[in-house]
Amino acid sequence: MARKLLLEHAQVPGINTYEVYRKHGGYRSVEKALKTMSPDEVVDEVKKSGLRGRGGAGFPTGMKWSFLAKPEGVPRYLVCNADESEPGTFKDRYLMEKIPHLLVEGMITSSYALGANTSYIYIRGEYSWILFILEKAIAEAYANGWLGKNIQGSGYDLDLYVNIGGGAYICGEETALIESLEGKRGNPRIKPPFPAVKGLWQCPTVVNNVETIAAVVPIVNDGGEEYAKIGIGKSTGTKLISASGNINKPGVYEIEMNISVEEFIYSDEWCGGIKNGKKLKACVPGGSSVPILPHFLVCKTANGDTRMMTYESLADGGFATGSMLGSGGFIVYDEDQCIVRNTWNFARFYAHESCGQCSPCREGTGWMEKVLHRLEHGGGKMSDIDLLVDVAKKIEGNTICPLGDAAAWPVSAAIRHFREEFEWHVNDPKAAMERNYGLVNEKVNA
């Protein structure tokens, strides 16, 4: 059995309550940090652990923490990004629902490390019921002296708030999140300045994903070096994977980052293979924004190496033949699935979620959605395929925030690997419609 650092007790009855959580070793990391470690020592442990941000970009957390500006007399903030809205990603939800105290504990230990006396959890509007779960856990933590003034007699004060968003994917982008937290429209800010210098209320701020903050708990408990022993290379520790699509056992899995993609898809410990004995067609390994991989590049890299569930191995081959671990939203497609339809579906999401601030993303995402809609619904032209590639290329890299890239990548990757299927939609729209919708006798319309 694989080692679990975050979800070990997730199935223990009552683990969402303080008593049970505490009995299973909860809040040890706070005790250890506050009583035996200086804030910088906690940061050092996180650096040693090699932990990388679990929100998608994989930026080393210890390094991010050490970039936090510390001007005299200015408050600093830690903000937990619980906006989890990337299609295919639902791990933070599971963690917060099952073991809310793990996040609360991680927030306290991390806030101490950063010298923050006020911290926030920003949660997406659609997770409204989790708001109550978290607020209950926070109230229990206050009642037991883990939050508030002079925590456990250490002299350290911390207030922790949960803030609920209105339900916008863009508010997961860290600067949009900060704007939203300040009560403004969630438009990403122009960087620099980065949040580490000017974030919430123009004060130095660290924004971290739920899973990143939760991982600080085992890192402080067992030491950064222990954590770094798990995994391969710069992919250390365990990672939560949200597995969905045509697999026998969809769900949230905590893996050690040393297993192969093949094992993850086919082993009964994890996804349990493709459903109904079908064949694998493609896989999106890291949430909707990362490039899709065709079946022959899923389990092996272009060089024929075994593809591993790590940041490096999934990115092997760059965008030409690789993808990204991203947020760990692992979507599997069987032979019956339509890549054009899937690409349209993603494009529709990004067009809907673009904040509309910058021209390439605002106009380009809507344009791609319309062209893909037409292709998928039988009204496409051969020139549409290159048009899509061109529009995607013109969005990519030219926008304020990475949502533009996130919208462009899935479109260009799908066409790169599945151009024939797009062409088939143009050449034989009736057959394509029939496969996707079973509309044998319906008129094909544009």
Partner: protein
């Protein structure tokens, strides 16, 4: 003071100057087009992406080139920085791409638009646009809205530069004007069609680069290129009283603030000057205003060197 080289021309500028402003100090062809940045509006810029440039050398200290094109209106110069503007084909391509994006949903109703002839989108399209479109879908449209008695909002023409939002934030005491919705269905709105109630609200018309915000007291009165713009001033208790009056014969058709060659107003004027002072006797006329434009319409009228008298 940092030295920066843009398209081969070097200039020394004050610390904290953006690439765009450094380019403007050099002047000429290398100046990137700017549809959203507005030097007198705090917080403006970064949005339209027409001002993209390539930084080929970061600085003397860190000579690495920047990986992506950057918005020149938001990027500060560093000592020893080298920048490619019009000289780099990838920059020109990116600007053309942004122009295309700005135009796909634009109604292209220039023949009936009051802004025609002084529209920055026309200028941009003239320089970077193509004569046909690859966009084959219905363009987005909105109902026209009257924002109070003086201002018409024709959202269909808006390019979402946010300038009017910053103007309202900066000049009007109560914030009633902003952006609602998101993505390509975002729109400028007063929070529920309220009028912007401020002595300086009329300035949103001047900062708007396109014909989305127009002067209701001037709508459809005349094409701007038939009018003679004259610098004029008056004693005004509210603003500087320095304006441009647009005349035909002996009559004042409209009043605007004075724009510099990049279309920017430095002295915002009040609504009394703009909407209620149209008698010639109320103004001291200084003389014709020199306009430096590069649009398709100015090609045969506002020629260089020639004053604007017809």
């Amino acid at each position: 003071m940092p030295k920066v080289t843009i398209d081969g021309q070097t200039i020394e500028v004050a610390e904290g100057t953006t690439i765009l402003n450094a380019a403007r100090q050099i002047g000429g062809e290398l100046v990137p087009p700017a549809m959203c940045y507005y030097s007198t509006l705090k917080g403006s810029g970064g949005k339209c992406r027409t001002c993209l440039v390539r930084v080929t050398k970061g600085s003397e200290k860190d000579p690495r080139p920047m990986p992506k094109l950057v918005a020149s209106c938001q990027t500060m110069v560093m000592d020893g920085m080298e920048v490619a503007s019009k000289s780099d084909p990838s920059v020109v391509d990116a600007r053309a791409a942004v122009t295309e994006f700005l135009l796909i949903n634009h109604p292209l109703d220039c023949p009936i638009c009051d802004q025609a002839g002084e529209c920055h989108l026309q200028d941009l399209a003239f320089e970077h646009g193509k004569s046909n479109t690859r966009y084959e879908f219905e363009r987005r449209t909105f109902e026209k809205i009257d924002i109070g008695p003086y201002i018409k909002l024709h959202m269909t023409r808006c390019i979402m530069c946010f300038r009017c939002v910053f103007t309202a934030q900066q000049l009007c005491p109560e914030r009633v004007h902003g952006i609602i919705h998101r993505g390509d269905h975002a729109e400028i709105s007063t929070f529920i069609e309220k009028s912007i109630d401020s002595e300086f609200s009329g300035n949103v018309i001047d900062v708007c680069p396109v014909g989305a915000l127009t002067d209701r007291t001037f709508r459809f009165k005349s094409r701007v290129w038939f009018l003679n713009p004259m610098d004029a001033h008056r004693d005004c208790p509210t603003c500087s009283g320095k304006a441009v009056v647009w005349m035909y014969g002996g009559e004042i058709y409209r009043v605007t603030a004075r724009k510099d060659k990049y279309g920017e107003v430095h002295d915002f004027i009040c609504n009394t000057c703009r909407f209620h002072t149209k008698e010639k006797g109320s103004w001291t006329i200084e003389g014709p205003r020199d306009l430096d434009r590069h649009s398709v319409i100015s090609q045969n009228h506002y020629e260089h060197g020639e004053k604007t008298v017809r």
